[in-house]
Amino acid sequence: MTKKLKGLLAACALAIAAICAQPALAGDTIKFAYVDPLSGPFASSGDEYLKVYQTLFARMNAEGGIMGKQIELVPFDDKLQPAEALIALKSITDQNIPFVMHCVGSNVGAAMIDGVSKHNARNPDNRILYLNCGALATELTNEQCDFWHFRFTGSVDMRTASLVRSLPKDLKTVYLLNQDYLFGQSVRTGMKKWLAQLRPDIQIVADELMPFGKVQDFAPYVEKIKASGAQSVMTGNYNRDLNLLVKAAVDAGLTARFDTILAHQVGAARSIGAAGEGRLTSIIEFSANVPPDMFKGPEADAAEKFATDWSKAHESEFSEINYWTMMKMVKAAVEKNNSTDALKVALALEDMQMKDMVGQENIMRKTDHQLLMPYYAAVFTKNAKHDTENTGLGWKTISESTAQDLALPTVCQMKRPKS
């Protein structure tokens, strides 16, 4: 018994020593805070992006870090609650971490923009930059745009524009089905706007909002879609609201397409499976199939290898190519000034051009701090070169909207700091 106890004590001591040793090791690193849901119903997304960052951080460190220093990822859990995110932000600023990254939820993103802006106004000697990697609502770089916020992912406006551009020529009738909250309504507005502008020949046979995350049985929706005779269901639904919809459609023998913007998110492929064959499309940043489908050359080969290595290790698809673009941009901005000072880095980021993993030019637009990046339309099919999530089906690229195509007008009127 005492022997056991001694062993236990020794183990505890070791564990404590290990914990204490960590900050000492991390003394001279550049820290990046990462705030996202790591518990609760949306934890699957936060957890996936955390893994992506861990891999990309290791890659950048292997390439020499930033200014010769190693970079360090500091994760915080916001449970998809704006209030929790602000508590995390307080703790981040207390630790003098210069960058905060956040990827899930536009409501949290809006709160972060506000929180960061206020903090920087009150503490000019301890400012922080908000690197947005996934809060999509168009408003965040329009009405609510802010100098301290940089969005390194396509807005809903950009994604719906590339979705409408990718629709096949013979498509004539669509059914709009979206979630009844900020994001879904934003998608709906975008779809209607771009359909009217780019494809006036397409008729919207129904425009429906459904409760967010509350529907357990989609069979009645499928009945309605069937009765409407639409050739395609255009939807911003994701997660359960998308998976159950497609499954119910197949069960009922509905033959319509599903043109979506988020079906490539982690987990969807596995839960939809063969039901999506040839009829489910999504607007993606990247997939293992983008390089072989669209590009040639050593850069494309390297990107393809990175993506396939990722799928082998994680059983999911690597689509977060823009995260790497973001890290390279921040690295360039910091090294240009030899400082992590938020104002200097922000000024250096403005109008910065950077090639992404496949060699496409990305631009951080100065007027609204929105990254102009290409998007690809992809269809879920077994004819893809690489499959996704071990389903035997993969995202085959069908068309591209370039960064120039997606340089959409903005109404942002940014307040710029004087010093």
């Binding site: 699957s44 357990q216 009645p220 309605k224 009922a252």
Partner: protein
């Protein structure tokens, strides 16, 4: 017309799935006065077990084994958990089951990860049974109906026509007397709790591949099951049945109705509404709020008839 018939069928299938979940909950409540918050978590466990077993042995063994596993877990929870906190009163029991929700949820995430599982309908049931007005009715839906109906029948027979049912019913109202007659009342309680968990597990097995098997499924089903139980009357199996079918129908039909309250007022000559909150509420189509209707009905019935549709005591 075709939409009506198809919606009727869909509503029935969904209602029966709800009933399978809710019947276990109401059974446990009527016996032990414990509102088991972890019931939907057991449903989730049932789906995950079924996925795991069907990966090795196929769907049919899973259909038998997964509910039994859930029953065993239920029995363990009752014997080593609930029975111990029982003397501390109802609040302690409630909090105990509430804690279980988090433990099971986290346990599932740690064991199977956070992503949905590829738990699919078995190929032998994956075909359209018949075609109605151009829409397929999947064989698996018919199978779900069959399972839930036979379960309803056997539970009813067990409770009403057998000696075990007699003792269970007696223990429900007069536990001291049943105990004095030499029956092992704690044993009866364990059986009922395990039985309820078997039903939840069974619902998980057939609901897991009909919907999706993922860590969020307990949270998605939990609230609506409580609504069914409260609406039907706590502890009433018949009320639970009626409420389940009703909720299934309401949610299914609500989606099909594109009219709003405003359309009802139209014959009275009211065609425009003021541009304020009231106008907003009046002009929102029923389809958009369909999923919230059950919750509104629960609030209503609690106001008008607190014991629920067929309940015997107040909530």
């Amino acid at each position: 017309m075709e939409i009506f018939v198809i919606s009727l069928l869909n509503g029935l299938v969904y209602g029966m799935l709800l009933f399978m979940l809710a019947s276990g909950l109401t059974l446990i409540f009527s016996m032990m006065d414990v509102l088991n918050f972890a019931h939907a978590s057991i449903y989730m466990l049932g789906a995950y077990f079924a996925y795991q077993i069907s990966a090795f042995a196929g769907f049919w063994p899973a259909l038998i084994l997964a509910p039994l596993l859930c029953g065993a877990i239920g029995a363990a929870i009752e014997v080593w958990g609930l029975r111990r906190v029982h003397h501390n009163g109802h609040i302690a029991e409630l909090l105990f089951t509430f804690g279980l929700v988090f433990i099971i949820g986290r346990g599932v995430q740690m064991t199977w990860g956070m992503l949905p599982m590829a738990y699919r309908v078995p190929p032998s049931l994956d075909f359209p049974l018949f075609t109605l007005y151009g829409a397929n009715f999947p064989a698996y839906r018919a199978f779900m109906l069959f399972i839930s109906a036979s379960m309803l029948l056997s539970t009813w027979l067990l409770l009403k026509k057998t000696r075990i049912g007699l003792i269970i019913q007696a223990a429900l109202t007069h536990p001291q007397m049943v105990s004095s007659l030499g029956h092992n009342v704690p044993m009866v309680f364990t059986t009922v709790f395990a039985g309820g968990c078997v039903l939840a597990g069974l619902a998980g097995v057939i609901g897991g591949n009909y919907q999706t098997t993922e860590p969020g499924m307990a949270e998605a089903m939990g609230p609506i099951v409580f609504v069914v139980v409260v609406f039907g009357g706590l502890g009433s199996l018949a009320g639970c049945f009626v409420a389940s079918i009703l909720m299934g129908m309401i949610q299914t039909f609500a989606v099909v109705i594109d009219q709003s309250c405003l359309d009802l007022l139209r014959p009275l000559g009211i065609t425009t509404v003021p541009d304020n909150l009231l106008g907003e509420v009046l002009s929102v189509p029923v389809a958009r709020i369909g999923a919230l209707l059950p919750f509104m009905m629960m609030v209503l019935i609690l106001l008008v008839r607190p014991r629920g549709l067929m309940g015997t005591r107040d909530t």
